[in-house]
């Protein structure tokens, strides 16, 4: 039974690239376009890992993570954030919001899968 990963990003390009890298590694991929949409998806399906962007309309990554963590079902689900460069402030903020780890954009597919493996049971 392969793992399900939810990717949340408002950029279609990014969503496609994530999906391509993840399905090549054998994961099943769900997609959402922003934080609000992500929560809607979570209400219906239960992914094993969540990967989310920070800058999104309607609800940004930080709020999304906070909202996810408030839900009992997802208190400990691994959440990886996509961040450009290794901005320590953003990383800190994401961690304080409850993120498990991060992936730097632009991402190397191998590193993406690595990061996922580091948190996926």
């Amino acid at each position: 039974m392969s793992k399900i990963i939810l990717t949340v990003d408002d950029s279609r390009t990014m969503r496609d690239m994530l999906r391509m890298a993840l399905t090549a590694a054998g994961f099943n991929v769900l997609q959402a376009e922003d934080g609000v949409h992500g929560l809607e998806v979570l209400a219906e399906q239960k992914p094993d890992v969540i990967i989310t962007d920070i800058n999104m309309p309607r609800m940004d990554g930080f709020s999304f993570i906070e909202n996810v963590r408030e839900d009992d079902q997802y208190r400990a689900v691994p959440i990886l954030v996509l961040t450009t460069e290794s901005d320590p402030d953003k990383k800190l903020r994401a961690r304080n919001a409850g993120a498990t780890g991060w992936i730097v954009k632009p991402f190397d597919p191998a590193k993406l899968v690595d990061a996922v493996r580091r948190v996926a049971a």
Partner: protein, 739 residues
């Protein structure tokens, strides 16, 4: 990957549009934070994607731009008009970069470097474009996992391997180092969804290892917090990887744990290590458990109680079962009901075109069928006739629906205008404000595509020639900022686009003298103001003394007019000296179908667009009058309307026909000018499918296009405006000129 690249460039276009729209909104004085955020995100998105495709120039420029925008976003930089203007220009440069990247062209680094430098002056202390953003990650990938990653649910059983160094020497491995890693996670680590087991699993991929757990910190069960972290581990790892590699595995948990990595001499020898710590469930001594826990404790399941003795699983007590189940909040799904945005799908344009073609054939076929059946002389109320009527209704509806698929708002053409206006204004040193109206007006996609060139020409022309320089305007008492208005609207079944400026209007004496100079008109020709205005549409005309880059070379308006006519459209101009000019373009809504009146002329069948026909008249002896030379007019109510013999003007025949034997169609051409077209007879009224003459044959004066009738014959579609203009040219020379 190529496909995704396409998607990326498509998305870039959308983002660029958002970017410009957002900046224009801010320029107008609307500083809504959401708009500012949207602008930031647009640049951010482009940069992100560009990085993935290694488009370094684009990334660097986008980065500087993004930084500036970020400062505005967090309030460290005021979005002053000057800054916004600069950003609009930066957006233009970004757009150029994107397109250069898309088309694989090299772009001149000059403008973007200059812009980047300028942007930086607005951002004190901005970080230079980070090289990290653009690094192609060609670095060695971590050793690919040997196990099939997808399916295997690794059993949470760590069986430490005791390593015999001698075994190693047999294998020809890269030189390895022994590390001793001490790892002490804090509770926060688990709260964020990290898992020691998983980390160790990854660690184990680097090489053989031995794990020992220190449970000395475990409190008694009653004091234990299910989410607490009381364990620490010592791992001995033998690997050829660098220490950084080991560290990177713990990247995410760096702050929520203590980690020590040191080079050790070797695997722990027997007397050094602690009790061999085997993660086998059978090691749990239940009696030990029971003796420690006096009271029965209900609730926590095995995994929570296990850490007391040797553990069955490494401690990361699943959080959920340890707490009482709370009703999972549906308040956490703030799914606002989907806003009323209509669901859309993307469709391949070829499919739509094919569909339209097929429907066109359907219409022709249905018309043919109706005729054949009519020839049979069936009663009008017969079942077949009624059925055919219904078929005609249906076919019409299908056709309308299919045409509507391709109908698009002119917005896509209009959206290129602000940038064009900015550039031309800059180039000519004029101050221009653009106002657009009716960008939601819909027109067939085929028309839209061919609108943009003529529109571009006319805008350039209006700014270059129409609008005056700021000083001149000031002297004339006008506001320094010139107004350029572009409006689209539907009128009598066509789409009309008006381009008006409040400039100086057509300089008639100058236009006239240039036309004489170029031999386009006779020096003593008598021309009305309107005629003079229309001289600018003549080939070879240009008022630029020096051919300017923008609208010189005498090709501008002539080309515009021809391209519009090729679409079956018309263009006219009205002008008031000192006040401005208005160009009016009128185009058919679609190039595909037309409601027409089918007529006979000299044995030929022609089709006249119904939208032009106002009235049908029967010429009488009393109403038709001669008017000098060959000209004839018809009296219609209180007016005299020129009567045009279509057969003659199209040169189907030489001699006139007796008007009384024919039918006159009162038509209205552009500008409201009325004429009467004399034809032999009217056959009927029908919707016809337009087939282009240009693509299949060539341009024929007086003829707009052709169609196939129900009986399979080809009928020509008349270009009413051209006929009217032709007739005037014929008539005018023969009119006696006033003294």
């Amino acid at each position: 990957m190529e496909e995704i690249k396409q998607v990326f460039f498509q998305e870039c276009e959308e983002q660029l549009f958002e970017l410009e729209a957002g900046l224009l909104t801010i320029e107008r004085g609307d500083f809504d934070p959401e708009t500012i955020n949207a602008v930031f995100r647009a640049v951010h998105s482009i940069k992100g994607g560009a990085g993935a495709f290694n488009l370094t120039d684009l990334v660097h420029f986008a980065h500087v731009f993004e930084n500036t925008m970020d400062l505005v976003r967090v309030g460290k930089l005021e979005p002053s008009p000057g800054l916004i203007k600069l950003m609009l220009r930066a957006a233009d440069i970004l757009a150029d970069l994107v397109r250069a990247a898309r088309d694989d062209d090299s772009s001149d680094p000059g403008p973007r470097e200059a812009m980047a430098a300028e942007l930086k002056t607005w951002t004190p202390g901005a970080a230079p474009p980070s090289q990290a953003a653009a690094q192609p990650q060609a670095a060695a990938a971590p050793p690919p996992p040997k196990e099939a990653a997808s399916g295997s649910d690794e059993a949470f059983v760590f069986v430490p391997t005791k390593v015999d160094l001698n075994d190693f020497e047999d294998l020809s491995l890269a030189p390895t180092t022994h590390y001793r890693i001490i790892f002490h996670p804090k509770a926060e680590l688990y709260a964020k969804g990290n898992e020691t087991t998983i980390l160790f699993r990854e660690l184990g991929r680097l090489g053989p290892m031995h794990v020992a757990c220190d449970i000395s910190q475990l409190p008694l069960l009653e004091d234990m917090l299910p989410e607490g972290a009381y364990l620490s581990w010592t791992v001995h790892l033998e690997t050829s990887e660098e220490e950084d590699k080991i560290k990177s595995i713990f990247d995410f948990v760096e702050w929520d744990s203590t980690l020590e990595i040191e080079v050790a001499d070797g695997m722990p020898t027997n007397d050094e290590q602690e009790e061999p710590f085997v993660f086998k469930p059978t090691m749990v001594d239940i009696s030990l458990l029971e003796s420690i826990v006096p009271d029965a404790i209900d609730g926590p399941d095995v995994s929570a109680a296990a850490p007391l003795a040797s553990v069955a699983k490494p401690a990361a007590p699943p959080v959920a079962p340890a707490k009482a189940e709370k009703a999972s909040g549906d308040d956490h799904a703030p799914a606002e009901k989907k806003d009323a945005a209509a669901a859309t799908i993307r469709v391949d344009l070829e499919r739509v075109d094919r569909l339209i073609d097929l429907v066109g054939e359907l219409v022709i076929n249905q018309a043919m069928l109706t005729e054949r059946v009519a020839e049979l002389g069936l009663a009008r109320m017969s079942a077949v006739s009624i059925g055919l009527d219904e078929l005609e209704q249906l076919t019409r509806e299908i056709q309308d629906s299919v045409m509507a698929i391709r109908a698009q708002p002119v917005k896509s053409v209009f959206q290129r205008m602000p940038r064009l206006v900015r550039e031309v204004a800059l180039l000519t040193g004029k101050n221009v404000r653009l106002v657009t109206e009716g960008e939601g007006t819909e027109v067939d996609k085929t028309v839209i595509e061919r609108l943009s060139d003529p529109l571009t020409h006319m805008i350039r022309n209006a700014i270059d020639h129409g609008l005056e320089k700021p000083e001149v305007r000031r002297a004339a008492g006008k506001p320094e900022e010139g107004l350029l208005r572009v409006a689209a609207l539907h009128r009598s079944g066509r789409i009309v686009i008006e381009i008006s400026d409040d400039g100086a209007g057509i300089n008639r004496p100058r236009v006239r003298s240039i036309a004489v100079e170029k031999g386009l008109i006779a020096p003593d020709a008598k021309l009305s103001d309107e005629d003079i205005d229309n001289l600018i549409f003549l080939p070879g005309f240009s008022t630029a003394a020096v051919v300017s880059d923008i609208s010189g070379r005498g090709v501008g308006m002539d080309v515009v007019k021809r391209s519009i006519q090729a679409l079956g459209g018309r263009i006219s101009i009205t002008s008031r000296p000192g006040a401005g000019s208005t160009f009016t373009m009128s185009l058919p809504l679609t190039l595909a179908v037309l409601d027409g009146m089918v007529v006979s002329v000299a044995g030929q069948t022609l089709v006249i667009p119904l939208t032009a026909v106002v009235e049908i008249l029967l010429p009488q002896a009393t109403t038709v009058h001669n008017f000098g030379g060959n000209a004839r007019v018809m009296g219609v109510r209180n007016e005299f309307i020129p009567l045009i013999d279509v057969g003659q003007i199209l040169q189907f025949r030489q001699e006139d026909i007796d008007p009384k034997s024919g039918v006159a169609l009162l038509v209205e051409a552009e500008g409201g000018v009325r004429n009467a077209l004399l034809v032999d007879a009217i056959q009927g009224q029908r919707q016809v499918v337009i087939k282009s003459l240009e693509t299949n044959y060539g341009h024929v004066p007086g003829i707009a296009a052709a169609t196939i009738l129900g009986d399979g014959r080809v009928a020509l579609i008349l270009d009413v405006d051209a006929i009217v203009v032709d007739s005037r040219n014929d008539i005018a020379p023969s009119l006696p000129l006033a003294g």
